[in-house]
Subunit: 109 residues, 2 copies
DNA sequence: GCACACTATGTCGTATCTGACATATACTGC
DNA sequence: GCAGTATATGTCAGATACGACATAGTGTGC
């Protein structure tokens, strides 16, 4: 497993599963976490691809730079709602959304 | 347009766009709304397909029947997080998630 | 080294979402 | 008509996420 992913998984040590031994999250919770990671990756990629700074994106979506940073870091304090808003705000289409989800299939290994 | 969809769009007259004329929501907001509608449909279908009542699903996800009802009705008071949690709790896979998103493509007409 | 742009992290008051509960409605079989 | 089951709707106190701000870290050109 890539250290990058590990690092972020640790960073994202989710609220819900945190107290339990380690990785004691339900399947659903785990899927949700992975989903968020995939999306936040996609957001960062989409934003950079379009040459936007976090500040630019924040303005587009009526938020702040710090929150965008948290979004991209998959901070536990950001909701899927906000993540999706950010994703679309980068200019990403639904087709790209589907692709982002498809990307997850490969992560199983 | 099917009256069913219209009715639910009205029901889902979203918080954010509500005050503005009508359908004065940003593209991103609109995409988010449509996304939610697609997902809530998929949840209801998935739940029924597996022969679960709203109460069953509520127990599975540690919530209440009333909230499940709101989820399926795409009530403005439910978050995407909760919607996704419900979706996975029905037993739906990520493949089904992708299909649910794909279903939206056809709605453009 | 400093100035500058970008990004990361922590905190705060307020707004929104949460499960739980009460209650209403809809549809059965009796 | 009346139980019983499923679903819908309204409300509330407590939990969580929000934007905003302050500030720290990181990189780059001078």
């Amino acid at each position: 497993m890539s250290t990058a992913k590990l690092k972020r998984l640790k960073a994202a040590s989710w609220k819900a599963g945190n107290a339990r031994d380690f990785l004691q999250l339900s399947d659903e919770e785990a899927m949700l976490v992975e989903l968020k990671l995939m999306l936040t990756d996609a957001i960062k990629a989409s934003r950079q691809k379009r040459g936007l700074s976090q500040i630019d994106l924040a303005k587009k979506m009526g938020s702040s730079q710090s929150r965008v940073a948290k979004i991209e870091a998959a901070d536990p304090s950001v909701s899927l709602d906000l993540i999706m808003r950010a994703f679309f705000a980068t200019g990403a289409t639904r087709r790209e959304l589907q692709r982002a989800f498809g990307a997850g299939e490969k992560l199983a290994a």
